[in-house]
């Protein structure tokens, strides 16, 4: 299952896939270097995973044409681990991340994505774009005017060059031109070579050099758990985006497993954990990539370029990478969501904005998504709670309360407030034929109402419990079990 693919997956679109793969590989180099720098490791680490992950994903992935690699979302979570414990612990944490993701795939946790609403996805994407942009700021502070000029020129080339020529990737042109200028003018600007070690050979298999004991596990466990969650979240969201763009389905659980396998593989050749990338996947689809071949090409081309063009890669000024990364962040951000703030309901906008705010504050996308999902669920509960009404009618000495709609934790208080206990009555009928009791809170609310009426000397009859309501009341209710009533009233 994990390796199954059709001929069409691989060879259905050879020309488009190969061209798109090359375009993606060119755009992956600056990203991989930039994200390694964010994580605080040598560019080599990001570059190794930037070629290893796409190659593994080409074979195992559940979403053809989606690009996975080392990403900013993951890199941000690694910062403290690398700072405190070093690269070897990062590699070990990457292995564990992969194992967690593999397990998640087998437990079919990919389907949990249904709880992540559209506004949370938008918030995630926007937060990601902001994080990528913010990660560029250190390169733009306390520098000479040359850097600003180069970055501006780079952005100009990226967005204006396509008007001249649509067959050469403009980010590549930007990198080549800026490198040439800075070498020619001997500009004193930071280059990729200054940022750390670049790969000088093909990677080799290595086992992370760490003591295998409980202390190590306790150090890496929290990081791995966070990385696994963030990696899967971004991958699942990207998969949905690619599904929408290409109008083809994907296998989300297979994608989870594949992310795990890719992260395990990449850490054994000295790469950092990664996940799917929204920006690169959009570039791939836009360039005409649709099949597994596009991902494979991206990985292989990237490997060849990095290993054989190393001396040139080290000369690339950081300003050129910053320009490319600003492009990625602009392309990732959902600008339309800002315009939509005016038209969408406030509750969904709040979800989106809260997701963004939490991510920007914590630098952890998982917390943002959790907040978003929580607010969205509360919103939903509040809305459903409105679907509850109680009306009443007095006939002689009997009052009939008619309850309709959904009674659960969010509507239980309002439900109780509809009953008037001051009224001196012989008999009360509570008609719940058209109501549904969802949980223990609602059942105990009904219980309290019944008991309170009985205390006032009123006879209570509950009428027309539908079957679903009856099962919940039967399981949790106390009002028709005398000994339980005693317990409940014990404190009064």
């Amino acid at each position: 299952m994990l390796l199954s693919s059709t001929r069409k997956d691989w060879l259905g679109n050879v020309r488009g896939d190969v061209l798109a793969g090359i375009v993606v590989a060119l755009a992956l180099i600056p990203e991989a270097i930039a994200f390694s720098i964010i994580a605080g490791v040598d560019p080599q680490v990001g570059l190794y995973s930037a070629f290893c992950i796409p190659i593994v994903m080409a074979f195992f992935g559940g979403r053809p044409a989606m690009i996975s690699s080392s990403t900013g979302a993951m890199a941000l979570l690694m910062v403290t681990l690398v700072k405190d414990h070093g690269l070897q612990y990062l590699l070990a944490a990457s292995v564990l991340t992969g194992i967690f993701q593999l397990i998640a795939g087998y437990l079919k946790l990919g389907s949990l994505m249904r709880y992540v609403s559209r506004s949370v996805v938008t918030g995630f994407v926007n937060a990601l774009a902001i994080l990528i942009f913010m990660a560029q700021l250190p390169e733009l502070t306390n520098v000479t005017w040359h850097v600003y000029a180069l970055t501006a020129a780079g952005l100009g080339i990226i967005y204006l060059f396509p008007y001249l020529n649509k067959t050469i990737p403009s980010p590549l042109v930007c990198i080549i031109v800026l490198t040439a200028i800075s070498m020619w003018l001997h500009l004193d600007v930071r280059t990729v070579g200054d940022m750390g070690k670049l790969p000088d050979s093909l990677p080799v298999f290595l086992i992370p050099d760490i003591p295998l004991n409980l202390d190590t596990l306790l150090i890496i466990l929290p990081y791995s758990a966070g990385l696994a969650v963030v990696g899967l979240l971004e991958s699942m969201m990207t998969a949905t985006i690619v599904d929408d763009m290409t109008d083809t389905p994907s296998d989300k659980n297979r994608e989870c497993k594949a992310q795990g396998i890719a992260n395990i593989c990449t850490s054994f050749i000295g790469g950092m954990a990664g996940c799917a990338m929204i920006g690169q996947s959009v570039i791939n689809v836009k360039s005409g990539g649709r099949g597994r071949l596009s991902t494979l090409t991206a990985g292989v081309v990237l490997l060849l370029m990095v290993v054989f063009l190393r001396d040139w890669v080290s000369q690339i000024p950081m300003a050129a990478l910053v320009a490319v990364m600003i492009m990625v962040s602009i392309g990732t951000f959902s600008w339309r969501s800002i315009a939509n703030l005016r038209t969408h309901p406030v509750s969904t906008s709040v979800v989106m904005l809260a997701t963004v705010a939490v991510v920007v504050a914590t630098h952890n996308l998982a917390f943002g998504v959790l907040t978003g999902v929580l607010i969205a669920s509360l919103n939903f509960a509040t809305k459903v709670a409105r679907f509850m009404a109680v009306s009443s009618e007095l006939k002689g000495d009997t009052r009939t309360y008619t309850v309709t709609g959904q009674v659960f934790f969010a509507s239980a208080d309002r439900f109780t407030s509809h009953f008037d206990f001051r009224e001196a009555l012989e008999r009360v009928v509570i008609d719940v034929t058209h109501a549904h009791f969802w949980d223990i809170t609602s059942v105990s609310a009904l219980d309290r109402i019944v008991i309170k009426f009985r205390r006032e000397g009123t006879e209570v009859e509950i009428r027309g419990m539908n079957d679903a309501t009856r099962t919940i009341v039967d399981r949790f209710g106390v009002h028709d079990k005398p000994e339980e009533v005693e317990k409940l009233m014990g404190g009064h």
Binding site: T6, R7, K8, G12, N13, R15, G16, L19, A20, V23, V24, L26, A27, I158, Y159, F161, P162, K166, T167, I168, P169, S170, P171, L172, I241, D244, M245, T246, D247, T248, I278, G279, V282, I283, V285, K286, S287, G288, G289, R290, M327, V328, I330, G331, T332, F333, S334, W335, R336
Partner: protein, 275 residues
């Protein structure tokens, strides 16, 4: 779609024989007939822009453009398919099938056929639009649990049938299935085995004879199973070959090759593939 003969048409030169063979089979089996046209998305992507730059709302703009271009393309293909289906229905009317069902679906042919469930027989043209043997055929046949009739570009009503027998369990099973099927009623059956044992062949012949099928058994010896079968078919005016299909995995096929693939490439008669 229970118990129906499905004719897969696409407007290529083999569309006409597909309809004719389907009509022949539906007549023999006395079951309803349906025409199927599938709109596949295997063209190169409608939008391809190698600039590699993404800007404000690139994602949304790309999606919108793809929806527009692909929608336009699909509308044209759908109309074209409807014409093909109407032409085929007219042809079937001439053959005496006025009420063939017409189906049009989006997706991959192999998956759609596999999802149809309990169909009786599917009829496909052998020739693809680019290759002498259609590129879909293998995946279509592999995914099915139902018989597939692969037909050449001309129709001739079958009268001499060749059953390719290899003595395997699957092959014997197929033989039993033939004895209960009305498809071969009244046809002359040649039971052919290549490089096997005479006794196995004799047992098989008895199965057919006890079912009342006129048979002629022949044991051939040749280095190549496929060329022996094809030569026999040409020499004896065979006009339908019945065989098991893709008994081995794709991996086996990759390293060792497959008789089914060779037969598809070399045989000039229609092939009834039993799964």
């Amino acid at each position: 779609m229970n118990n129906t003969v499905i004719a897969c048409v696409d407007g290529s030169p083999s569309t006409r024989p597909v309809c004719e063979y389907a009509a022949w089979a539906a007549g023999k089996l006395d079951v309803p007939l349906a025409l199927m046209h599938v709109l596949e998305k295997n063209d190169p992507p409608a939008v391809s822009d190698l600039t590699g730059a993404i800007g404000i709302d690139s994602r949304e703009q790309l999606t919108e453009e793809l929806v527009r271009v692909e929608g336009e393309r699909s509308r044209l293909l759908m109309a074209q398919g409807k014409t093909v289906l109407a032409d085929c229905a007219a042809l079937l009317k001439q053959c005496g099938y006025p009420d063939a069902q017409m189906l049009q679906k989006h997706g991959a042919l192999d998956e759609i056929l596999a999802e149809l469930g309990d169909i009786r027989l599917m009829v496909l043209g052998r020739r693809g639009s680019h290759n002498p043997v259609g590129s879909h055929l293998e995946s279509v046949i592999r995914l099915q649990k139902r018989p597939v009739l692969v037909v050449p570009e001309t129709f001739s009503p079958p009268s001499q049938v060749m059953f390719a027998y290899d003595g395997s369990e699957a092959s014997r099973e197929n033989l039993n299935r033939m004895t209960v099927s009305p498809l071969l009623n009244g046809l002359n059956c040649h039971l052919i085995m290549v490089n096997g044992e005479a006794e196995t062949l004799k047992d098989a012949q008895e199965i057919l004879q006890s079912a009342g099928i006129i048979t002629e058994a022949r044991l051939l010896n040749d280095k190549s199973v496929t060329s022996a079968l094809c030569r026999y078919a040409d020499e004896n005016d065979i006009d339908l070959t019945v065989m098991g299909a893709y008994g081995h995995s794709r991996l086996h096929r990759f390293f060792i090759g497959s008789h089914t693939a060779e037969m598809l490439a070399e045989s000039r008669q229609p092939l009834l593939m039993l799964r």
